[in-house]
């Protein structure tokens, strides 16, 4: 596959590892993006790195940081008569306060998994008697696609498509993170595909205001290793922002996508699951599109409860590793997640669990599933 396979060069990766070793440097870097966390875990990269180099995972999984109350709202909307809720597969198993969309679906709510928000549009056209509500989660990569779908609904005169907008924005979250007193990382590995949309310039404040070295990078092992090498060479004294993923990312981003996004959405404060409310880090549907906003519907929500002992908040800030949480692999597994970091396969805990390098406390000696 062109522009994928050419970047999967094990010999180049080995050479990059050797060059990283030869620097004899150390540092703790946060990969902000969950897809980076997945790629690192899948390749088993962590144990290959020199001992002084630590990779910690940030809050870059949109599924994980969707607030419990927002999941509860989605479930309540899905249970309304005449509603079909469409969602990315990632959201199905995410627990809210009491249920998940999967359990709501099992008990009768109409929930359909889609790959693209555009599929919701087709469903809305086929089911004129139903209200089709798309569950909008994701960062800046995804929000323009949802906005585009809403514009397309308007253009085609499809009037039974609604959206719940729980989208999140990355730069405000990074600003909140680096502003924390005990935030202690030596550099950011910045998300590649969010940056395709918003452009690398969106992170200019990080080296300027916070002396934070940053590299925007792609998702192949060789991309990630180049980012680490560049961060190590940079050091805090000459903190700057570099783009390794230049094949996809421009300084100004994708102006067309940004325009579509801002036609439909405006920024708002948003609650990040496991963290706190971050000013200006969410996207609300603009007044002009209020008729398509399912977020204003009257629904009954369960009383919020907080799981005591779950340490996802500290994991999302990079203070601890998943293994440091008492629930990891025991009470909290991908089948039965307690906290946000376990709920999506790209969540920090889930990716550590799925691709763990050691047996850990979690290795279950499953019996065979007899027959099929």
């Amino acid at each position: 596959m062109r522009y994928i396979d050419e970047f999967r060069v094990p010999a180049a990766a080995r050479e990059l590892l050797r060059e990283i070793d030869a620097l004899d440097a150390h540092g703790t870097f946060m990969e902000v993006c969950g897809t980076h966390t997945m790629a690192i875990s899948r390749a088993g990269l962590r144990p290959l790195l020199a001992p002084g180099i630590d990779l910690i995972s940030g809050p870059g999984c949109p599924v994980c940081v969707t607030a419990d109350a927002d999941i509860d709202r989605a479930i309540a909307v899905a249970r309304k008569p005449g509603v079909i809720l469409t969602t990315f597969g990632d959201m199905m198993k995410v627990p809210g306060t009491e249920d998940s969309l999967a359990s709501a679906s099992a008990s009768g709510a109409r929930v359909r998994v889609v790959y693209s928000p555009l599929e919701s549009l087709a469903i809305a056209a086929e089911e004129p008697g139903s209200q089709v509500v798309f569950l909008g989660v994701g960062f800046e990569t995804t929000a323009p696609a949802v906005a585009g779908t809403m514009l397309e609904a308007r253009r085609q005169g499809i009037d039974n498509l609604r959206v719940l907008s729980f989208h999140k924005l990355v730069p405000p979250a990074l600003r909140a993170l680096v502003g924390l007193d005990d935030f202690d990382v030596d550099g950011f590995i910045l998300p590649g595909h969010v940056s395709v949309i918003i452009g690398s310039d969106a992170y200019a404040f990080l080296p300027v205001e916070f002396s934070m070295p940053c590299v925007v990078t792609g998702f192949e092992v060789t991309d990630i290793l180049q980012a680490i090498l560049r961060l190590l060479k940079m050091g805090a004294s000459e903190a700057s922002l570099e783009v390794e993923y230049a094949r996809a990312v421009r300084p100004e981003g994708n102006p067309r996508a940004l325009e579509v996004m801002s036609q439909v959405f405006e920024s708002c404060d948003a609650q990040w699951r496991g963290l706190f409310t971050i000013p200006g880090s969410g996207l609300a549907i603009r007044e002009e599109f209020a008729a398509m906003d399912a977020g204003t519907w009257e629904v009954e929500l369960p009383e919020p409860t907080r799981s005591k002992g779950c340490r996802c908040g500290e994991i999302l800030c990079g203070r601890i590793k998943p293994m440091d949480c008492p629930f990891f692999g025991g009470r909290c597994t991908p089948d039965n997640p307690v906290g946000p970091c376990m709920v999506s396969s790209e969540g920090t805990c889930a990716s550590y669990y799925l691709y763990s390098e050691s047996d850990g406390p979690d290795e279950r000696g499953e019996g065979a599933d007899i027959g099929r």
């Binding site: 596959m1 062109r2 522009y3 994928i4 050419e6 970047f7 060069v9 010999a11 180049a12 080995r14 050479e15 990059l16 050797r18 902000v32 993006c33 969950g34 897809t35 870059g60 999984c61 949109p62 990315f88 790959y115 693209s116 928000p117 555009l118 599929e119 994701g138 960062f139 990569t141 995804t142 323009p144 696609a145 585009g148 514009l151 397309e152 990355v170 998300p191 595909h193 969010v194 395709v196 949309i197 060789t222 390794e244 230049a246 094949r247 996809a248 421009r250 994708n254 067309r256 996508a257 579509v260 790209e346």
Partner: protein
Amino acid sequence: MCLAIPAIVIELDEPNLAVIEIGGVRKQVSLMLVDDVVVGDYVLVHAGFAIDKVDEAEAQKTMDLLQELARLEQEAGFDEIH
């Protein structure tokens, strides 16, 4: 946080749609978020939308670098053996 895959545009459809191909798989995507796409362009596909074009010159630079790194690695391996 977001899967996006480079794929070649093999057909342009009205309005603002394209058929892309990757590894023998074909899929229709929306071109609403990108300007000036022509057949033969590589685009990054996310959730049914092309979110931008691949900058092929920049891709080639990185590919050349990786080939150079691979060459260095093989030379180093050769030195170790001898």
